[in-house]
């Protein structure tokens, strides 16, 4: 197992180098002069030259890439053109908000998705099966930005029970330790802040979690149906084991492998989906950060954020593969 992990980590290196080349090349794909594109038509030649110098755009492509890679390896992601702030610090500050939202969305998706999938499989062709699978089908077709807006209209505007934006209501105090607000409020025993942070998480979490929830529900159902046909399930039933034990201990355990892969893949995709969700709910994470950078043509921020997200995405996929192998020793990779 350890050998496998080490080999996979080595295989990661060319992919990450490729990711860095692609991210680096983005700025060179800009039609015309990148400096002009960033500073706009009114910029003077002196300003343009200064930016070119600052970004090293006058050097050769290879030299630029070497510097880019060297800086990244030292944790230096450069500074924002607009705010002049250190991008690495900004990302570190904003990442917990995105990770908190993503984990919360995934938790909702897994709990509801797996439960719905299991019940639908156990009660195949029942009204619940039909209803949940129709819901899952609708779920994968929903534009999450529209769902988010409709939620705001229903829960914030019409019913006035959930806050429409942000992470915490103005005036609610919270001493941040990790910048994960739910965790921080538990650590400091601040239940007022916990309740407030939780209510802020609900809508964006649900909006972001809808698509993975639908996919997980469908995958769990089909995987459960496959497993429930196996002989060992029949044996477990025949020997009089309680039904919930058969379902959760025997069937779900064996049906969970394909579901695990889907969860891993979806988790990475949520990081992409966070751009839309964070924009709608004004969630101060890296999704909104990159969106504002795109609008402001702040390319160093766009480059760095995309590089970090892609690296996290690749690592999550690797972790999924490792877990898959761990849980199913029958799988052999050459």
């Amino acid at each position: 197992m350890l050998k496998y992990i080490i080999r996979r980590l080595f295989m990661l290196i060319p992919v990450l180098i490729g990711v860095s080349i692609l991210t680096f090349s983005l700025i060179h794909l800009i039609p015309g002069d990148p400096a002009r594109s960033m500073l706009g038509e009114k910029a003077t030649e002196a300003q343009l030259e200064s930016l070119r110098e600052e970004l090293g755009l006058n050097d050769s492509y290879i030299v630029q890439y070497g510097r880019f890679l060297g800086d990244i390896l030292q944790g230096d992601l450069g500074e924002s053109i607009q705010s002049k702030e250190d991008i690495a610090i900004q990302l570190l500050h904003k990442l917990p908000a995105t990770v908190e939202l993503t984990i919360f969305a995934m938790l909702l998706a897994v709990v509801i998705g797996v439960l719905a999938g299991v019940v639908a499989a156990v009660k195949q062709y029942s009204w619940f099966d039909n209803l949940s699978m129709t819901g899952a089908l609708f779920g994968v077709s929903l534009p999450i930005f529209w769902l988010g807006l409709m939620m705001i209209w229903l829960f914030s505007v019409t019913l006035n029970i959930l806050p429409p934006s942000g992470r915490l209501t103005a005036g609610v105090e919270l001493n941040t330790i990790t910048n994960f607000y739910l965790l921080d409020s538990i650590l400091t025993g601040n239940w007022v802040a916990f309740k407030d942070a939780f209510s802020h998480l609900l809508m964006p979490g649900l909006a972001l979690g809808t698509i993975p929830m639908a996919i997980i529900a469908r995958m769990t159902r089909s995987s459960m149906l496959e497993v429930m046909r196996q002989d060992y399930i029949r044996t477990a039933n025949a020997k009089g084991l309680k039904k919930y034990l058969v379902i959760f201990q025997h069937a779900l355990k064996n049906a969970s492998l394909p579901v695990l892969t889907v969860i891993g893949l979806q988790f990475g995709l949520l990081l992409g989906g966070a751009v839309l969700t964070e924009t709608i709910f004004s969630w101060p994470g890296i999704g909104r950060y990159v969106y504002l950078a795109v609008l402001g043509r702040d390319y160093p921020v766009v480059q760095s954020t995309i590089l970090i997200v892609a690296t996290i995405f690749v690592l999550i996929n690797l972790l999924t593969d490792i877990l898959y192998k761990y849980f199913d020793p029958r799988i052999r990779y050459e």
Binding site: L29, G273, I306
Partner: protein, 306 residues
């Protein structure tokens, strides 16, 4: 894996392929069977109907629309749905129904162009990688791996960020991020097809690689390509609408559904219909393509049925 259409017997002449009559009948029968299965399946039939409605709406948009999609009528802004304006009016008093009807043309355009880019490049890359193998395969598939290291919508946003906002660039970006899926599917199909006897036969009588690939291998990958194309159109429309919603895709006054949502979000408190109806349009069209895609997969290759 997917031998669903013509499978010629060993070929006498590489330049004049004579397909056996009974094989041709069998193949036609297979497609007819598949079509029957789609029509019989309730869900894929609904999907097919939704797509037909979309196509008809796009063709007859000027006849169906009750107003001009761009005509402003500031006095009548934010009118709720009524007999005059079926789905109400937006912030500039434009008729939402007419804008949605005309927007169907843009959705089809996005579907065809974005997925066309993804399909043509993806099929060629996957086909070449699978057919030639070795270092060609290695290079192509590593590039595909790198592209897949980015969450697709984020890569699309990054591409539009550098290419500049606009519907054309959004379609190109959505097309590019769709390439890996086609490449992988076609590569795996080609890998199994190239080992079959009729490919060996074609090669042994001296047919050139290009001809074997284009005339014998790729036509036998049609089934998975059709399924992927249908499912990809839904995703492409969704992604392009997302880009337009962020202000990176279609620009005003284009009646693109995602852009309509974006324009209307400020008024959600007082005029929720401005946001509700364009979103429903996106939802139904994507649902249609997903339903049909699922149905096609089950009909063309029952082994993939979940």
């Amino acid at each position: 894996m997917h031998h669903l259409s013509l499978q010629p017997n060993p070929i006498p002449d590489p330049n004049t392929v004579n397909v056996d009559q009974s094989e041709q009948t069998k193949s036609r029968r297979l497609w007819i069977d598949s079509a029957m299965r789609i029509v019989k399946s309730k869900t894929s039939f609904i999907g097919l109907c939704i797509i037909l409605i979309l196509i008809l709406t796009a063709i007859f948009a000027p006849l169906i629309a009750t107003h001009s999609p761009t005509a402003q009528d500031i006095i009548n802004r934010y009118q709720p749905p009524s007999s005059e304006h079926f789905l109400g009016t937006d912030e500039l008093g434009r008729d939402i129904f007419s804008r949605i009807v005309h927007g169907s043309r843009i959705s089809i355009q996005i579907g065809v162009i974005a997925v066309g880019i993804a399909m043509i490049i993806g099929v060629l890359l996957g086909g070449v990688a699978g057919y030639f193998g070795r270092w060609i395969d290695q290079i192509i598939m590593r590039i595909i791996d790198i592209m897949m290291a980015f969450p697709s919508i984020l890569l699309a946003i990054a591409l539009v960020a550098v290419l500049g906002p606009g519907l054309t660039n959004a379609m190109i970006a959505v097309g590019i991020v769709g390439i890996p899926q086609f490449a992988r599917i076609v590569r795996s199909a080609v890998l199994s097809i190239k080992e079959t006897e009729y490919i060996e036969a074609a090669k042994s009588i001296g047919a050139k690689h290009g001809r074997v690939l284009m005339q014998h291998v790729l036509p036998n990958c049609v089934a998975p390509i059709i399924v992927q194309t249908t499912l990809s159109i839904g995703t492409a429309i969704l992604d392009a609408a997302g880009l337009s919603f962020l202000g990176l895709g279609a620009q005003p006054p284009t009646p693109e559904w995602g852009a309509m949502l974006s324009d209307g979000q400020a008024a959600i408190q007082n005029a929720p219909w401005v946001v509700a109806f364009p979103g429903l349009a996106i939802f139904f069209v994507v649902l249609g393509f997903n339903l049909l895609g699922d149905g096609l997969r089950d009909a063309l290759d029952p082994r993939l049925k979940q």
